[in-house]
Amino acid sequence: MLVEAQRNPVRRVTGLARSTPGRFTLLALLLVVSTLLVGALTASSVQRRSDALTALADRSEPLAFAAQEVYRAMADADATAASAFLSGGVESAALRQRYEADVAKAAAALSTATGEITRSPELVDALSTLSGQLPVYTGLVETARAHNRQGNPVGAAYLREASTLMRDRLLPAAQSLYRTENANVARDLGGATTLPWLELLLGAALLAVLVAAQRYLTRKTNRLLNVGLVAATAASVVSLLWVLGASVVAVSGASSSQDDAEVVDVLARARIATLAARGNETLTLVARGSGKEYEEAYAARAEELQGLLARAGSDKARADFVRWQDAHVRLREADDRGDYTAAVGLALGPGPDGAAEAFDALDTDLRESLDAARAGLTESIARARGALTGAVPAVVLLALVAAVAAAAGLWQRLKEYR
């Protein structure tokens, strides 16, 4: 019989299960395995959540910001080049500096965005267009300047070619880059806001097993409580509460990040729409009577801008927008009745009722709101990450404690059968 049992492992286990010490041994084994398994699964789940937040904080969000900077700086460079041309003569030092700062910013932000090319192969086209055509664009603008300095009207044609390159190739590529990076942010945020159902389920199952084991022992040994099992249960409860608490804080942080990210997105788009509208306003005047398509593009951008400002703009931004619209209406009236000089004055002049001043004020408002919104976003992501700090080691440690305690608790009872 014994020989038979030794030969057949299944019979050995069933044989073991028939005796009480055998059952206790199996129970100890079950408890150790399940505490360790639940600990490992919970730890990996928390780790996943933490990884999503790390990816968000260290990559997606900075990349989306870089993409937004590329887009903004390029739109600004185009608008600035048009303004410099409209002002006539050699462009002012301020406009030149602004253009140079835009190009430097676009190139720097582009190098950040390009570093992640292996992660998003779908961006290869957009990124190679951006980094390949930006030097071509600046080359055309410099050729235009050189001709302008010599009084050659062909300079205007080079500037038109540069602007066409910007509008037909660079800006669409920058837009698709921004859209993709922004979608990555939304995706990572979505991953971080799932409620901790798995952790809760695993923890509850483990507690149920521990309580059942306790009741079984109570029945078998007539002792009310087993210290080891109580310790294991306590460790599991602490682990579950820790994970739930940390996860809930992280999820709430990520949820508020989602709101912040949406505000950042709306403000970024508003800022780019502002720049595009300004570029079109200026080019309408440069075209001198044949700029109907630019004026239509301006109207489309202004309408988009109004919608975006209604969603996320500050009161001051909305007021500045209205001021700009007023100036634009007066500017168009002047141009349409043939007073070109007055129209250019309204477009570029420093007066408080001019379009330039209102545009600059709106751009500044949007930049400040955007900076604040982005600070809010990074802060709520940081808060979410902070909540998860130390959760993984704690879960692992508590799982080990629970396993050891459960095993020790049953070992005490087993000793009584020796």
Binding site: G89, V124, G132, G155, A156, R288, R337, G338
Partner: protein, 325 residues
């Protein structure tokens, strides 16, 4: 039997090891940028067929003959009641279609941002005759192909923009008498060995959309490839960037290019005659007669010669006016 089994096992092991050691290529995408994308002016296209004329059969006419002036030029402030001139004076400014891309004829001075040139000065003379003030003028910049629609839609009162008088255009607009006699020639890089339109077969030649120059290029017997662009300076950009081999249009416009780029030369004889006229809407015949009376005066009192000297050098005798009554 046993040996075969061992061999099969060995082969299997070798295959598994080989599969495990097969090289895993990098998933990183290619660098790209193998071919440079050349920037082009907006809406530059190569023509595959000559531009179609609106009317298939244009009745022949004496194109340069315009409407005879009726009496003397009315003085400022005394425009005949109900006339086109009176309506323009009441509107407060003369709306003129000009160019800002043709150096020396109609161009934007990069320093001042103002429009200048031979055509612009001629337009200012019309404003002076109407208002006594050459500044009572609203310029509307037109491309070659926008000239006739702008007149037909009443967006401008007059077009003074290197516009060749021909019978096809007489169908849609009225022309003044000839105020400048140009002719089409060819501009090439100074390194080119082309000698004229006849040596440009299969080469790319640039002209603006809607211009008579483009039609002449597309119909040239040597069969050059016509490339059309919106503005004349776009042609110079394409020539400087090596995207076209030559520009062919009126010698006045070519002279403006040569003045901006010393590495170009004008070659070949004039192969067409391009008489320039000021264009006005078909309905306003009284205004045509008024402008013709003004041109008579400008030719006679030396104003035409002065404007010519300012922009285009020593003046020849002004073109002689022809009338059809």
């Amino acid at each position: 039997m046993k040996r075969a089994g061992v061999r099969a096992l060995l082969a299997g092991v070798v295959a598994a090891v080989a599969a495990a050691c097969a090289p895993v290529p990098s998933a990183a995408p290619d660098i790209g940028g193998a071919s440079a994308v050349v920037p082009r002016p907006a809406n530059a296209t190569e023509l595959t067929a000559p531009p179609s004329s609106a009317a298939a059969a244009v009745p022949s006419c004496d194109a340069t003959a315009s409407l005879r002036p009726q009496g003397a030029l009315p003085a400022v402030g005394q425009m005949p009641a109900g006339s086109t001139m009176e309506r323009i004076v009441r509107s407060g400014r003369l709306r003129v279609g000009v160019d800002q891309n043709t150096y020396l004829m109609g161009f934007r001075n990069p320093f001042s941002g103002q429009l200048e040139g031979f055509d612009v000065d001629m337009a200012r003379e019309v404003a002076r005759a109407l208002f006594g003030d050459p500044e009572k003028i609203q310029f509307k910049v037109l491309t070659s192909e926008q000239r006739i629609p702008a007149l037909e839609n009443g967006e401008v009162d007059i077009v003074v923009r290197t516009m060749t008088i021909n019978c096809e255009r007489w169908q849609k607009v009225n022309f003044s008498t000839v105020y400048y006699q140009a002719g089409q020639r060819v501009l090439v890089p100074s390194s080119s060995d082309a000698t004229g339109i006849e040596s440009l077969g299969g080469k790319k030649v640039c002209a603006t959309r809607g211009s008579s120059s483009l039609v002449n290029v597309a119909n040239a017997p040597s069969r050059p490839i016509a490339v059309e662009v919106p503005n004349w300076t776009d042609c110079l950009v394409m020539l400087q960037q090596g995207q076209v081999d030559a520009i062919s249009t009126d010698d006045t416009i070519l002279a403006g290019f040569a003045a901006q780029d010393p590495y170009t030369k004008i070659v070949g004889p004039q192969f067409t005659a391009e008489p320039y006229g000021m264009a006005m809407p078909k309905a306003s015949e009284d205004f045509v007669r008024f402008v013709n009376a003004l041109l008579e005066r400008l030719r006679a009192d030396g104003t035409w010669a002065t404007i010519h000297r300012r922009w285009l050098g020593e003046p020849p005798a002004p073109p002689v006016a022809k009338y059809r009554d």
